[in-house]
């Protein structure tokens, strides 16, 4: 078991204190700070606490109750979305919101207040959390809900693991007829078409676009879908592929990425409608376990920003041009329109507007310079960068992106910290 972040973009050593039972958690003593660690699917250092304590939570893997009438589930914080889906899908329920991987824990989903392809209709995961229990470093066990310890409830949703350890949580599910998604793929060209498609697809439960950010004329594929009315399921292979070792870094060069992108858009080059199982629709990359290793030893970055609605078109055109010009290969780029449903989370990332997420190989300074340039553009229109994906933003950028941080620090547990937090607060406050 290694305790890296998904981007594996820097090496750090940790003190490890795994948590197994919620009824008798004793934090390690000493001056070092603490940070919960779920499945490490965050790309950067929100789940890293170099030289200090990580509290792996996967041992907190028990379910507490599942109300099949009301569609409410309570479980310990280390339960994964994968485990939840295997339990609830056969019973006609689905997660209210899911990210692009099912290998995340409930605690991680709350701490990053994750969003999915249905943000325009459903908001973030935090919108469905009814209550959770928080263990602070002074030993206080607090039940948090919109009515009880409401401030801590809000601060913990999107609170980046800094307000204490979530031991268990309860949240609402959505009803489904069956495990299939009625999905439509539409190839498009140009940013205009993306915005038009998003507008005309507002009534679809799920929308997202994949784009080839290396092409100057921007081609992409728009996906939209709904939970299908069919009850039956499709036979899908459960076999996963694993990447057993780090690829040498030359494997993933610009030419290969271009090849991949071209073949991907070729596969989706015709508009088509089909029924697919929920797994390939939501989690296309989960079949290849550890796909992050194809980026080699140096790891990689993801840059995900949000541009508020009114500037979205202009600013995204500018950003995409800049990236295409930089030639720093981006493997997967995703565009998605966020809606205006606000989350209870104080530091929650999503806001009404458009989000762009791109992967970059780690070319050291060159990549970081590009990110800094992008940060400035995003900052200038009051946009923001997603901490769950971040490994670079400066304290100045962070404080611009999240002016709420001034209120947030009142709720940060004095013994909790992370590599991210130390970076964006410049060491001390």
């Amino acid at each position: 078991m290694s305790y890296d972040s998904w981007g594996r973009n820097y090496q750090s050593t940790h003190l490890i204190h795994p948590i197994f039972w919620k009824n008798n958690i004793i934090y390690p003593s000493g001056p070092e700070t603490l940070l919960p660690y779920g499945m490490g699917r965050s790309y950067g250092d929100v789940c890293q606490n170099p030289e200090e304590w990580l509290l792996p939570t996967r041992g907190l893997n028990r379910f507490i109750h599942f109300d099949r009438e009301q569609g409410v589930l309570a479980c310990e914080a280390g339960v994964s979305f994968d485990e939840i889906l295997s339990l609830i899908v056969p019973k006609g329920y689905f997660l209210p919101v899911t990210p692009g991987t099912k290998f995340v824990t409930v605690g991680g989903a709350i701490a990053n207040d994750i969003h999915g392809k249905n943000h325009h209709q459903k908001g973030t995961f935090g919108c469905y959390v009814t209550q959770f229990e928080l263990l602070r470093s002074d030993g206080q066990l607090l039940l948090c809900s919109p009515d009880e310890n409401a401030h801590l409830f809000k601060a913990t949703i999107g609170g980046l693991g800094l307000t204490g350890l979530i031991t268990w949580a309860e949240f609402k599910l959505q009803k489904i007829k069956g495990p299939l998604i009625d999905c439509e793929t539409i190839p498009f060209r140009g940013l205009h078409s993306f915005f038009n498609l998003s507008e005309e697809s507002k009534d679809y439960e799920y929308t997202v676009a994949w784009i080839d950010s290396l092409s100057l004329d921007l081609h992409g594929v728009f996906f939209r879908g709904n939970h299908a009315q069919e009850k039956q399921s499709l036979q899908i292979s459960k076999k996963n592929l694993a990447i057993p070792f780090n690829f040498p870094s030359w494997v993933l060069n610009k030419h290969l990425v271009r090849c991949f992108n071209t073949s991907y858009s070729w596969i989706h080059s015709r508009r088509k409608k089909h029924l697919v199982s929920y797994e390939p629709f939501f989690y296309p990359l989960d079949r290849i376990l550890n796909w992050n290793k194809i980026y080699g030893k140096k790891g990689f970055f993801q840059y995900q920003c949000l541009i508020p609605k009114k500037d979205a078109f202009n600013i995204l055109s500018e950003i995409l041009k800049l990236i295409a010009k930089s030639g720093l290969a981006s493997f997967l780029s995703v565009l998605k329109e966020f809606g205006n449903i606000s989350s209870p989370g104080l530091m929650s990332f999503p806001r009404e507007g458009t989000t762009l997420a791109m992967d970059f190989s780690n070319y050291d300074q060159k990549t970081l310079d590009l990110f800094n340039e992008l940060d400035q553009i995003v900052s200038s229109v009051h946009g923001r960068v997603y901490p769950a994906k971040d490994a670079h933003m400066s304290s100045v950028s962070f404080q611009n992106f999240f002016p709420e941080w001034k209120e947030f620090i009142n709720f940060v547990d004095p013994r909790f910290s992370s590599g991210f937090w130390r970076r964006v607060t410049g060491g001390g406050l």
């Binding site: 078991m1 290694s2 795994p18 197994f20 039972w21 919620k22 009824n23 008798n24 041992g59 028990r62 379910f63 507490i64 109750h65 599942f66 339990l87």
Partner: protein, 244 residues
């Protein structure tokens, strides 16, 4: 509907086995030494679909409690299967320093299991059917300097189970010896995890299958059967010089 008793349900491996039975609507009798943990597991197994879960708090190291515990197991009718999962790893260095610690490993992993099985096998003979499954370990296949107190406790257990299997066979009762390799559970939390480590859920699937097929012995994951074959055939003359 199956009725299964799991002794040492707080073990990460045991919980995964119990969940597989719960999914099929089994009725479960669970035992462990911590009341609070038992209540968490009872809820979990109910969510997974167990038709009924009853629990009993007992520290198996106290042999004097075994009779009433086994009476409780059979108080609600016949059982299809008893899985014994609890165990302690002990720390080899500490065991070498302090004899009581070494004996405790033997007491918990071997003596207490014998005491339980003594009573359980009588009940099974009376009901003329049943399945006994015990989690031992690959460590019992050969003594090594790095953990031979633990290894000896599991090795003794293996021999006892062989004899018991032989004895119970004519009564239509099967006895399964489970030999897992490295499994990622709280017991091994302090060890550095290499590629040899298996997830408890996948080991549990193997246990479930072996119980259902009424096997005698199983290595999990199965490649450990091969590794242990090699380890067993190394001549003692050479083996004693190895640092294993």
């Amino acid at each position: 509907m199956k009725k299964i008793a799991i002794l040492g349900i707080t073990s990460a491996i045991a919980l995964e086995v119990a969940r597989l039975y719960a999914k099929n609507g089994a009725s479960l009798l669970i035992a462990g030494r911590d009341e609070q943990k038992l209540s968490l597991l009872k809820k979990d197994l109910t969510v997974f679909g167990a038709s009924d879960v009853s629990s009993y708090a007992i520290d198996f190291a106290y042999l004097e409690n075994h009779t009433s515990f086994v009476e409780w197991l059979w108080s609600q009718g016949e059982l299809d299967c008893v899985l014994i999962a609890y165990g302690i790893l002990g720390n080899q260095e500490d065991c070498e320093k302090k004899c009581e610690l070494a004996l405790e490993v033997l007491h918990v992993n071997f003596i207490s299991v014998v005491s339980l099985l003594h009573r359980i096998s009588q009940k099974m003979i009376t009901q003329k059917s049943g399945n006994i499954a015990v989690i031992s370990s690959v460590a019992g296949d050969r003594g090594r300097q790095s953990n031979f107190y633990y290894g000896a406790s599991k090795g003794a257990l293996n021999i006892f189970l062989q004899g018991l299997r032989n004895k119970l066979h004519p009564h239509g009762i099967s006895v399964l010896t489970i030999k897992p390799g490295f499994v990622d559970t709280p017991m091994t939390a302090h060890l550095k995890k290499g590629f040899l480590f298996a997830a408890s859920a996948s080991v549990a699937k193997g246990i479930y299958r072996a119980i259902e097929k009424r096997k005698d012995q199983v290595y999990l994951p199965v490649f450990w059967g091969f590794i242990m074959f090699v380890i067993r055939i190394v001549p003692e003359k050479i083996f004693k010089k190895l640092k294993l």
